[in-house]
Amino acid sequence: KYLSTFIKTLKYMRSPPTPEMATQEVPLNETLAHLKTESETLKSKLEEERAKLHDVELHQVAEKVEGLGQFVMKTRRTLKGHGNKVLCMDWCKDKRRIVSSSQDGKVIVWDAFTTNKEHAVTMPCTWVMACAYAPSGCAVACGGLDNKCSVYPLSLDKNENLAAKKKSVAMHTNYLSACSFTNSDMQILTSSGDGTCALWDVESGQLLQSFHGHAADVLCLDLAPSETGNTFVSGGCDKKANVWDMRSGQCIQSFETHESDINSVRYYPSGDAFASGSDDATCRLYDLRADREVAIYSKDSIIFGVSSVDFSLSGRLLFGGYNDYTINVWDVLKGTRVSILFGHENRVSTLRVSPDGTAFCTGSWDHTLRIWA
């Protein structure tokens, strides 16, 4: 923190031209100043327009909704097999298979019902921060410090060497932080430490669209539920959550209320809102049609960052995995915490609810994954 403040001071000291310079460059500086003024005016107008519609708080409207009772959720399965920190996981559409990736480069496909490992691949890099299951269930994608996203078709033959059929799809200029297949096995969306997101064709490896707008590493992304159309949301180290139009590459909405890096973003099941989890120890809900933050999920006693968030099927519950090894369960409408779950022995790095909502899975730096229900 001290270093950041020091750097900010240094940046401030390395300031604009001296007056002599200014007189010789009047045209350029005027245009710049003009643009900056317009920028400030637009920003204030944006805030004004948003504030006009802020007539009530979500939790106030939700007062008439029945409160939730006690929740009994516990670990039903523990998946052991990774030799190092689990960084990411994803469910298969069949609601029972899971792919997970870890710091030591291993990517494992599990049957969550039986806890058996079905496939294992060793990536040529460490810190495999992203992994995703293809909608067909026939392939997985993963990547990390290799700056790439690779797709591995899953073979029915357990003895076959998966690495042999590997296909390199995405190429970024910095680490891969997240990846997701779109509605089909044919396209992958990626986000990277190079500050961009990108859409790729799996077959040819061709870049279909790139998304520029974040001012720092992009850490997470989530695709809108298919009914709501071609958009996705991304969150980054610039504390911004951006909503993008996949076809045009345009950023259509931007939200900047978090006080630190946004580690995870997830759409509300209806597609009209999304939640985010950040290093500032809060989760927040942003409504896309009201174009503003409508809820903050936080407590004074929670001081560790949120690494990942996901909604239950109806959107009433928000699960957050935290760096203090716990999982907090929030009532999305009322803004209160309904449960806190213990079990992991190190920080929770990834959390996803199963496709049919019967359980959720967490991955942790304690090398294990847990299924909760």
Binding site: K11, S15, L35, S39, G315
Partner: protein, 118 residues
């Protein structure tokens, strides 16, 4: 990783600070034949105000265009948005296993009680 970033940033700033903050030319060695200008036309990007300005303008123009797009979208009141979120929750609550809690017999992850066959 965080400390590496800070180190690199500090190093770059130190260079810029001592050679660029007052926009004076860097210490000229004897081989350099560049005449001394009030406007620095050196190749060091920290010292070329024209270079700085044109890229800043491009950036500022992009920001203004982006803000124009964001400012022009249609918005609804929070009260309306909230009631829509609530309605969705209400409609789908009964199908939400984690919310309602479903019996062990229907949840593949919950252990089933052993049954005796008589």
């Amino acid at each position: 990783n965080f400390s590496v970033d800070i180190f690199i940033e500090l190093r770059e700033l130190r260079v810029g600070l001592f050679h660029g903050s007052t926009l004076k030319p860097p210490p000229q060695n004897k081989q350099t034949k560049q005449p001394q200008h009030k406007q620095n036309k050196g190749t060091n990007p920290f010292l070329d105000p024209r270079g700085q300005s044109s890229s800043s303008i491009v950036q500022a123009r992009r920001t203004v265009q982006q803000l124009r797009i964001e400012a022009s979208i249609e918005r609804i009141k929070v009260s309306k948005a909230s009631s829509e979120l609530m309605r969705y929750c209400g409609e789908h609550a009964k199908n939400d296993p984690l919310l309602m809690g479903i019996p062990a017999s229907e949840n593949p992850f919950k252990d089933k009680k052993p049954c005796t066959v008589l």
